[in-house]
Symmetry: C2
Subunit: 421 residues, 2 copies
Amino acid sequence: MSLIVQKYGGSSVADAVSIKRVAKRIVETRKAGNEVVVVVSAMGDMTDELVDLATEVAPLPSGRELDMLLTAGERISMALLAMAIKAMGFEARSYTGSQAGMATDARHGSARIVEVNPTRIREAIDAGAIAIVAGFQGFNRGTGDITTLGRGGSDTTAVALAAALGAEVCEIYTDVDGVFTADPRIVPTARKLERVTSEEMLELAAAGAKVLYIRAVEYARRHGVIIHVRSSFNNNEGTLVVNPQEGETVEEAMIAGIAVDLGEAKITVVGVPDVPGKAAEIFTIVATTEANIDMIVQNVSAADTGLTDISFTLPMADGARVMQTLLNEKERVGFESLQYDDQIAKLALVGAGMRTSSGISAKLFTALYEAGVNIEMISTSEIRISVVTRADTVEDAVRAVHTAFELDGDDVAVVHAGSGR
Amino acid sequence: MSLIVQKYGGSSVADAVSIKRVAKRIVETRKAGNEVVVVVSAMGDMTDELVDLATEVAPLPSGRELDMLLTAGERISMALLAMAIKAMGFEARSYTGSQAGMATDARHGSARIVEVNPTRIREAIDAGAIAIVAGFQGFNRGTGDITTLGRGGSDTTAVALAAALGAEVCEIYTDVDGVFTADPRIVPTARKLERVTSEEMLELAAAGAKVLYIRAVEYARRHGVIIHVRSSFNNNEGTLVVNPQEGETVEEAMIAGIAVDLGEAKITVVGVPDVPGKAAEIFTIVATTEANIDMIVQNVSAADTGLTDISFTLPMADGARVMQTLLNEKERVGFESLQYDDQIAKLALVGAGMRTSSGISAKLFTALYEAGVNIEMISTSEIRISVVTRADTVEDAVRAVHTAFELDGDDVAVVHAGSGR
């Protein structure tokens, strides 16, 4: 008998009908002879609605209270899901994050898991029940307070439970068929990947692929959990995210996929004195905002002025805050001005095979040139090349690159609307 | 510094505006130099909406899961209320039933409190914070599961906390100004009572007065908690529910008030063989339905037939179930037929002074006779006389009785819509 952890996002349990559909799917997995532990997000847009309510009563809601509020969301979906399963004649019990032993640090809104002690979950499945666990939430042992894990928290809950229970696989149900070579909404010929390494998945997620959250993939890699990303709308096999052992020979595709991120902006600090320590000074200031800085480019200093420009990309949501923080320090740093540009896009090519192949960059730049796409910034890692382009050219860019690297499949992918937490 | 427990029902926290209004009121109590513990119900109709969702996914939701589901309601309101108070510059922390140490038995949906251990609440108020506690919910120590206290549960939570913390008073905020001599919607000249004994309050609540739930009053009487029923819409003094000590001389009004209950029906078992044990047999059958039987009347047996009729009242909601259960046993019991009548009303006159006064019954029956109201059933306790009348005559009846016992006040009471859990 295998133990399977399944995670369903908010769009999969958006209403009573969806909940009954998911319940049926869980029961089928149980009937097939598996032990099943289910992690579930809040229904549909419930989390957003609760956040709206919070900002109505308090402009800056307390982190502790916001976590208390938001965890009501999974409490509702998990109880309803357990009821629906029981109505089908199977035993099911729902558990909050703290009942499931999800101990975290005390950082409200973005808590990290410090220990998972799923005694009650183990007891429930040993008693033949299906355990339904609230995603996204935990508790801090020191304070006794409820915490939440932040964006993608339910994925992380599922992977952490799979690790603690020694599950055979952690199935992440979503509204697409798996991980694709590119976003099928942009590239209709994108192919579903049968398998991808967790290293590649990390780079894809970091580069804007929305299908899995970085923290969940990191946790899976560290604990050797196999993730199976698949659709809750059909029974197709999805994509396996695997962790090849050190020294294990796996046939690695040169390119796993292409990710596009339209949620970033570029800030350019213009006219920075080209003296040692200035970059450090600027990014120390930026760090105080806790914004997530991605690519950084410094131009060659113009010999006649002794000034240089420094550009970096960051999530649009952090843009205004970082601009204001830098402006406050204009005198001290001594730069001339700031430029803000949110009409950019980031395209990233990811593949573990890059390590052993050459000419990838040349092929990428040629494809972009032939598609008439201008490259504004470049950054590379061992298994990734990222470029920044104008936002309005990125769709042409990704299609051209997809074809150039022979990623096009024969079929056209089907895409469903919506996405979970 | 006094410790005050305040309880706000669902209509007091129905939306963001109401929550901010309640927060202001709590802060004022704090500013006046009191320690404050607040018990709050779920927002507006949230509980009903959650119950509807539950019945959509499962025709008979599991009790454990229904409790898990419903407790999400207070989680939302208490977190929002704490945020709103913090936004006003006062420290506030919300606590679930289990965090507040509300240990109950394992009866899901109608759990009884077995112990209250409010260590965290005590710590919070000692640290200068306002503690916000979820009403209606507790947990069972044996199973570790969440429970709910059933109807009026939030009142009971408030009283139990007041007892455990040794609070000076337990303020129950509602949408009326206090406890009245009669329902002001029926008797516009009804007077607000300044004080009422818990014994009288129990009889009034049992007789249909909706302002406080029986279990909360019972708990308050047993633990010596003073309840102050008052409006959340103004700052008027409400009604004190007090517990006179044994031997304490209190000036007791002859009549505290008149309660009317339109939610009952009458079942008559016709043609019951008048032999010993038949009444016991019938009510043993009725007891299996767990319906809450109130008044019971057995007619004198007709000498020629050896048959008698037995009538009893019960909540309308239980009517169909009890009728069916009795019909199933018709042969065995040997009665002739059943009659069901839901066009009745129950009028109860309550007053601790009845113990030492005579002539109350005569005065009541005379008033009803003069108002042209026919009496169908009568039952009495030490401090209460109840009669059953036709539903369509009960408003005339209560006005006539109110006047006959000189309860009419000079002012006309103001009534607000809605009521809490």
